[in-house]
């Protein structure tokens, strides 16, 4: 018996709708397979191609960035936040950072609608890493290499540990951020001047001594933040200007020291 004799009558009787459905499902599954292999092929081809970053930044003189953007940012910070409180100083640093980021990126990419975003994620990560490294070096230079500060810091820790239950480490690297936060809050929150006026001569002297760490801290923070603004500006310049300015920026930082 021929197979066609069985199949043909069934096929003839089957509704046209069912055949259509089968074709539609068949094409749908075929589409899935096609789409799947298409993307896998594109991915395989893309992984083989080595991409190199094209330099699209405008050529800018290093002095232009330093004199027209970094130095004015420091001057503006001095004028606005020179005598401000600690939290305001940190706010000032943030403002200076954003100002430099906007202006330096604009200097390199004047025609872009989003000059800040004209770098890769990789470069931004590198910028964050470099800034963290600069802060680390600043702290190390100030707290480890300076004999006077190193010992004053240890004395301060000794006094703190003697009076408080929660002791802190003599190594500044081991101190927790929560401890630093509470120390800063203690230093900055006390209304020193008002209390001082009400006290006697010895009370005034005592209050001045107590206010000393606050003053030292404020002056330390001010000078360090100024240096940090310059260094941050140079790091931003390195990232947006490419590697050309990297060596120049490093030389300038060394000179600054």
């Amino acid at each position: 018996m021929d197979i066609n004799e069985v199949v043909e009558p069934i096929a003839n009787q089957a509704p046209q709708l069912l055949i259509n459905y089968l074709i539609i499902i068949g094409l749908f599954l075929l589409g899935i397979a096609f789409g799947y292999f298409l993307l896998r092929t594109i991915y395989a081809a893309a992984t083989k191609k080595k991409y190199k970053a094209k330099k699209t930044a405008r050529e800018v003189e290093k002095a232009e960035i330093y004199d027209d953007i970094i130095i004015p940012s420091v001057t503006a910070y001095d004028a606005e936040y020179g005598n401000a409180s600690t939290s305001e100083k940190l706010e000032g640093f943030k403002k200076a950072f954003l100002n430099m980021l906007t202006n330096i990126s604009k200097a390199y990419y004047p025609d872009s609608d989003y000059p800040i975003f004209e770098v890769s994620a990789d470069a931004i990560i590198k910028l964050a890493d470099n800034i963290a490294d600069r802060i680390n070096r600043q702290l190390k230079r100030f707290l480890d290499d300076n004999f006077l500060v190193k010992n004053a810091f240890k004395a301060g820790v000794y006094v703190h540990n003697k009076s408080k239950k929660d002791t802190i480490s003599y190594d500044w690297r081991e101190i927790k951020i929560s401890t630093i936060k509470s120390l800063i809050e203690n230093l900055t929150a006390k209304p020193v001047v008002e209390e001082q006026e009400k006290k006697s001569f010895f009370g005034k002297v005592g209050a001045s001594v107590k206010a000393l760490p606050n003053k030292i801290f404020a002056s330390f923070l001010n000078s360090k933040l100024r240096e940090l603004i310059v260094e941050t500006g140079m790091e931003i310049d390195k990232i947006y200007g490419g590697s050309k300015h990297a060596e120049i920026a490093d030389v300038q930082t060394e000179e600054g020291k």
Binding site: Y21, I25, L29, G31, Y36, L38, T47, E118, I125, L139
Partner: protein
């Protein structure tokens, strides 16, 4: 309707079916690639994570699962909202969002249960180590994709793409567009009821889309949660000298 017109209608249906199939296939391929890439990224995280005490790991895994469920629920609501016909759009009502920020805080609290601010229980040195770790892990992420252009992709391109998506969404949210979309959704609903083939196609598409978003959400929550656990357990020995050297060389 003449026979010729019927033929064209069939061809149109066939072509549409094939195009929808390609879309589903692309999503399926993306899902499988995402699984592969996420597996590569999380390999080192898992290695470090295994060093943490088992008791703590169990608690952390539970918290990661809760966060994943929260995002999957959000995604489900978003998906349902895109298919609405008659009812109003739904929103997820929770007293406290179980988001990534919450997860990070909760994981830190596992290691410092008595601290009022567990996130600040890192030392100065830990913070610098953390920055290095983030750099190395993001570098791993770029390497895991095997696509060299991802590393150099300008953020402006990403920002512009996001801007286009936001614009499309804002157009979609306009009253008239919502009305048109409801009509489209209604016709799709009717087609799905009348034709079992459409129902099958819609079901497959939904399944593949759901699979893709669950791969992304679960993997990302797992990586972020476990990385946070590694950081707060002081298990950050990732920056080996050769690794950092290679990284610095590459960046320069």
């Amino acid at each position: 309707m003449t026979f010729q017109e019927m033929i064209w209608l069939h061809y149109l249906l066939y072509t549409l079916s094939f195009i929808v199939g390609i879309g589903v296939g692309l999503t399926a391929a993306l899902s499988s690639l995402a699984r592969k890439v996420m597996g590569k990224i999380s390999a080192r995280t898992n290695e470090d994570y295994e060093k943490i005490e088992e008791e703590k790991r169990l608690v952390i895994d539970e918290k990661i699962e809760e966060t994943s469920k929260y995002y999957l629920k959000l995604q489900e609501i978003r998906r349902k909202n895109s298919r609405i016909v008659f009812r109003k759009k739904r929103t997820l009502k929770l007293e406290e969002p179980n988001d990534i920020k919450h997860l990070i805080k909760e994981v830190a609290a596992v290691f410092y249960p008595d601290s009022p601010e567990p996130l600040l229980e890192l030392s100065v040195n830990d913070v610098f180590e953390l920055v290095k770790r983030v750099t190395v892990r993001l570098d791993d992420t770029f390497a895991a994709t095997n696509l060299s252009f991802v590393r150099y992709l300008k953020l402006s391109a990403v920002y512009m793409t996001m801007g286009v998506f936001n614009k499309i969404n804002s157009i979609k949210n306009r009253g008239i567009m919502q009305f048109v979309l409801r009509i489209v959704n209604f016709s799709v609903l009717v087609t799905n009821i009348v034709s079992p083939v459409s129902l099958f196609k819609a079901g497959t598409r939904r399944k593949v889309n759901k699979d893709f978003s669950s791969v992304l959400i679960e993997s990302l929550c797992k990586i972020i949660g476990r990385e946070t656990a590694c950081v707060y357990s002081k298990n950050m020995q990732i920056a080996e000298p050769e690794e950092l050297l290679a990284l610095t060389g590459k960046a320069e």
